[in-house]
């Protein structure tokens, strides 16, 4: 619909709208704020992974000079949680703690060091319970008691079992069947900015500035726990120092500072320490996976059976969604005619897991890519060929009812194949190359809580030529503010700098469901187009009237509306229509299939990526040196190529960290290394050159054809690394991170004549419920599409 159009600003590599603010150090992050009389808050956290709280004595803390308020769970007893079905968290726990780091009490004091001393002076009596620290442990009967009092049996949180098409028949049709078990270790977001929030309470109203990805969800949780109407609470997203999914839940400290501000009548600030950020977590679930795939002799997939077991940590968080996600997107890259998915999430006494870049999908992607790779070796087919033969086609529906519109898999694959010279790669000992692909959502098709309202809304106000766009979306560094400005500018014939932005403020901006699930460009972008086109209609109509011509004869470009400057035209329009405002909104098409759980997976469009990793691996030491990574990403259309490349490169970086070193590890019930020194994040010298290719497929529903870029390109990196290690040394490392010791061990086994592999050997017995059989949709899109596209 827009392919042939000439763009004014879309597609140009423009600087971000907040670039100067950021490079001059003038962006105000939450911890930079210090309102007059601000009190400082510190939180007492559980030293036990699992315990009942018998008593809490805060009297010594209260006696310390400078302490203004001390609160415990009794002050904030109402439970909250991101999903309506799992309202299982308290801002402060006074009955039971479920992981080392669970918040118990909080202090507001005139100085941070006084608050820190005061929490140390609080004494808590515990009845220590047996901790549950692994998936196996959680599946067994608890030795003391269950971690949560819902879910089950034992410490199981959620079970799902779905079948699409006739899987048994599919396996019967197969010439070759292969089963594998994989493990993807948990890891965390590690944003450079530690979470921070500051609240004031004046005249019966709370204002909270926070480092959050979703002001709206924080707003809802505050209203619930503080028992205040939403109109008494204002949540503002401060400049954001990195999220990656880690700031998408409402957090205890956000609620605590509000409560303390209400009690003390002074502003209260809480900035988590780095250690506390590790406890706030909500990061990548550790997932154990079992996959069984059937294929014909020439490599055509006939059926797949996929099982996952997620280690969820102590609370629900987004876990129900995460569980479905581990089974949802296998089908949007490969055409799988019959598919069975069984998923299980368990509770353990660890910080809760949740959404991290790629939410629930990098783990199955890892398993899927490697499983297919192994099948191709057994069938004697080149892995790239085998995968390509099974690529989904554009404009189809998958067996599990997901609607695929644009799909650039073939082009992405060709780009990285050609650039990396993969097919004619150098063969020398210890050198290897690996290939993998992936896909991700451009926003979830359904909201976290059921409602029929739009997912994103944008308002535009024009006044004396000044354009202001209002939107609830939060720029977390990905550049969503810049995208909004570019879209509004594009439609009004202006430059992004001409557009003032007001975003992420629940008082002044209309709703947007926030920066997660790669939804902002797609959803807020479409809402912005609608609002801006309405505004354009008004200024054009006013200009046409004055020019005495038809509206179609009024050209909108280069800061001009027909014969007038934009400012002149806007004055004409205001005289004609009164106050110039317009609004647009976006509601995704109803895409969910006819089954329970179908809300997770559908997206108005999917992005696609392909990746090649080139590395040297040393057989003696197991040390891996990545030489280069090529990545091609189908983003539909790059509204700003600079931002897209930045998202792709950042995703590759994070994927490489997960593949090689990042690990949320536990020892004796404690996080083993909650510090930036011991939790290994790749430095400048650990990062290879990355060559990025942007592929544009012009999605029919995306704004100007655009899709997501911020998460998908992470996914192919871990499997591509493992496939390159196999290429180099002939051993499979079936779990991440790929540490040198695992490689050495796999080689040792191979030398002894055992399978040359490192990874889990078995998948536990899980009491999955009876499988729900779902009739697949007609596979060609026109006959299946509910939304006209």
């Amino acid at each position: 619909m827009t392919t042939t159009r000439e763009f004014g600003v879309v597609g140009k590599p423009l600087a971000r709208v907040d670039a100067v603010t950021k490079v001059t150090g003038r962006a105000i992050y939450a911890d930079d704020m210090l309102l007059p009389r601000t009190l400082h808050c510190r939180i007492l956290r559980s030293p036990h992974p699992h315990a009942r709280i018998l008593s809490i004595d805060t009297s010594a803390a209260r006696r310390i000079p400078g302490v203004q308020a001390v609160i415990t769970g009794a002050d904030l007893p109402i439970k909250f949680g991101i999903l309506p079905v799992t309202q299982d968290e308290r801002a402060l726990e006074h009955e039971k703690v479920r992981y080392v780091g669970d918040p118990i009490a909080a202090v507001a004091a005139i100085e941070e060091e006084i608050a820190a001393a005061a929490i140390d002076a609080i004494s808590v009596e515990y009845e220590v319970l047996d901790p549950v620290m692994s998936i196996e442990d959680a599946l067994a009967a608890p030795r003391d008691e269950r971690i949560q009092d819902y879910g089950g049996p034992n410490n199981i949180h959620k079970l799902v079992a779905l079948e699409f098409g006739d899987v048994d028949a599919g396996f019967e049709r197969a010439d070759h069947i292969r089963e594998d078990v994989f493990f993807f270790q948990g890891n965390t977001h590690l944003p450079m900015e530690q979470h921070s929030a500051i609240a004031t309470y004046v005249d019966g109203r709370i204002t909270l500035w926070s480092s959050t990805q979703v002001v709206h969800y924080v707003h809802r949780a505050l209203a619930k726990v503080l028992e205040l109407p939403m109109n008494r609470i204002r949540v503002i997203g401060a400049a954001h120092g990195g999220g990656f999914g880690g700031k998408t839940d409402p957090f205890a400290h956000e609620i605590i500072v509000c409560k303390l501000a209400m009690m003390t009548g002074r502003p209260v600030k809480c900035t988590l320490t780095r250690e506390e950020v590790f406890y706030a977590h909500r990061g990548r679930h550790p997932v154990l996976m079992w996959v069984r795939t059937g294929a014909t002799r020439d490599g055509q997939i006939t059926a797949m059976h996929f099982r996952t077991a997620l280690d969820g940590g102590a609370y629900g968080s987004y876990g129900v969604a995460s569980t479905f996600y581990t089974g949802a997107l296998q089908t949007v890259t490969y055409d799988i005619p019959a598919y069975r998915f069984e998923g299980c999430r368990v509770f353990t006494n660890k910080p809760p897991c949740g959404p991290k870049r790629g939410h629930g999908t990098p783990q199955p992607r890892f398993a899927l890519e490697l499983n297919l790779e192994k099948i191709s070796h057994e069938l004697g087919i080149d892995p790239v060929d085998l995968k390509q033969r099974n690529f989904v086609k554009p404009m189809t529906r998958t067996v599990n009812w997901l609607r695929v519109t644009s799909c650039g898999l073939d082009e992405c694959t060709e780009r990285v194949m050609t650039a990396s010279n993969y097919r004619r790669r150098e063969r020398r000992p210890g050198h290897g190359m690996g290939f993998a692909i992936s896909s991700y959502l451009s926003g979830a098709g359904t909201a976290i809580y059921w409602n029929d309202m739009p997912h994103s809304e944008v308002q535009i106000k024009v006044d004396r030529g000044g354009v202001t766009a209002y939107c609830g979306a939060m720029d977390i560094g990905q550049g969503s503010d810049s995208v909004l400005a570019m879209i509004v500018a594009e439609e009004l014939g202006l430059q992004p700098a001409d557009v003032r932005l007001v975003t992420a403020d629940t008082d002044t901006t209309p709703i947007d469901l926030g920066s997660y699930s790669s939804r902002v460009t797609f959803m807020a972008g479409n809402a912005a187009i609608e609002a801006a086109r309405k505004m354009r209609g008004m200024v054009v109509e006013a200009a046409a009237a004055k020019m005495g011509c038809d509206t179609s004869a009024v050209e909108v470009r280069g800061g001009r509306i027909g014969d007038f400057t934009f400012e002149e035209a806007s004055v004409l329009a205001e005289a004609r229509f009164g106050t110039l405002t317009s609004a647009g909104s976006y509601t995704p098409p109803k895409l969910a299939g006819p089954y329970k759980g179908s809300g997770v997976g559908p997206s108005p469009a999917y992005s696609y990526s392909a990746c090649v990793v080139d590395l040297d691996a040393d057989a003696r030491t197991g040390l891996v040196h990545v030489n280069k990574i090529w990545i091609a990403h189908d983003v539909g259309r790059a509204i700003n190529p600079l931002l897209v490349e930045g998202q792709v490169e950042g995703s590759v970086y994070m994927g490489l960290g997960e593949a090689l070193m990042e690990e949320q590890a536990f020892r004796k019930g404690l996080h083993k290394w909650p510090s930036m020194l011991e939790y290994k994040s790749p430095t400048f010298v650990d990062m290879p050159e990355v060559e990025t290719f942007i592929v544009e497929t012009d999605d029919p529903e995306g704004p100007y054809g655009a899709k997501e870029a911020g998460q998908g390109p992470l996914l192919p990196v871990p499997p591509a690394v493992c496939s390159a290690v196999y290429d180099a040394l002939g051993v499979w490392i079936d779990e991440v991170p790929v540490t040198p010791e695992k490689i050495v061990e796999a080689l040792r086994r191979k030398e002894k004549g055992e399978p040359g592999r490192f990874g889990p050997t078995r998948f536990p017995a899980i009491p999955y419920p009876p499988t729900i059989k779902v009739e697949p949709p007609p596979r060609d899109l026109p006959s299946a599409a509910p939304a006209a596209i």
């Binding site: 600087a15 971000r16 907040d18 670039a19 100067v20 603010t21 950021k22 490079v23 001059t24 150090g25 003038r26 962006a27 105000i28 992050y29 911890d31 930079d32 210090l34 310390i64 006084i114 820190a116 001393a117 140390d120 002076a121 977001h189 590690l190 944003p191 450079m192 900015e193 530690q194 400049a239 120092g241 990195g242 999220g243 990656f244 320490t273 780095r274 977390i476 560094g477 990905q478 550049g479 600079l642 931002l643 490349e645 930045g646 490169e649 950042g650 995703s651 590759v652 970086y653 994070m654 510090s675 930036m676 020194l677 994040s681 430095t683 400048f684 010298v685 990062m687 050159e689 990355v690």
Partner: protein
Amino acid sequence: MKQEVLREVQRVVLNLDVNGERAELLLPVHKTLLEVLREDMQLTGTKHGCELGECGTCTVLVDGRPELSCLLLPIQLEGRAITTVEGLASGSELHPLQQAFAETGAAQCGYCTPGILLAAKSLLESNARPSRDEIREALAGNLCRCTGYAKILDAIELAAGRMA
């Protein structure tokens, strides 16, 4: 254990030279430069990610060389020239590094940016046309979680070219 907070605070009057401006401040001796910049001088451009010397976010220049402000005491810095991100631009004109970071998209969330800009400034002063590997070595103490470092390398090369 943490009751040292009840101890008396030793305060000293210090003369600090920050971004060419002299400031006379009465400061507790145990406050780090990071805390003093952010809390006593309202220079919040200097950020922090660990306060333990592990991430490089808090990097400032001391006599032109990058150091970690979370591990420095102002009492050790009298007579030394301290530069923070606020001291990079001249008036409203950006430093070429700032300009290049803005143009290339080297700042995403922008949280690591102040520290990296300063480390890069120091590098370019001793090595006007560094290779990509030399830039990597010089910045190896500064973590960034957003960019994958690629655009930062591009930006520094761009600025070096323009400054030469």
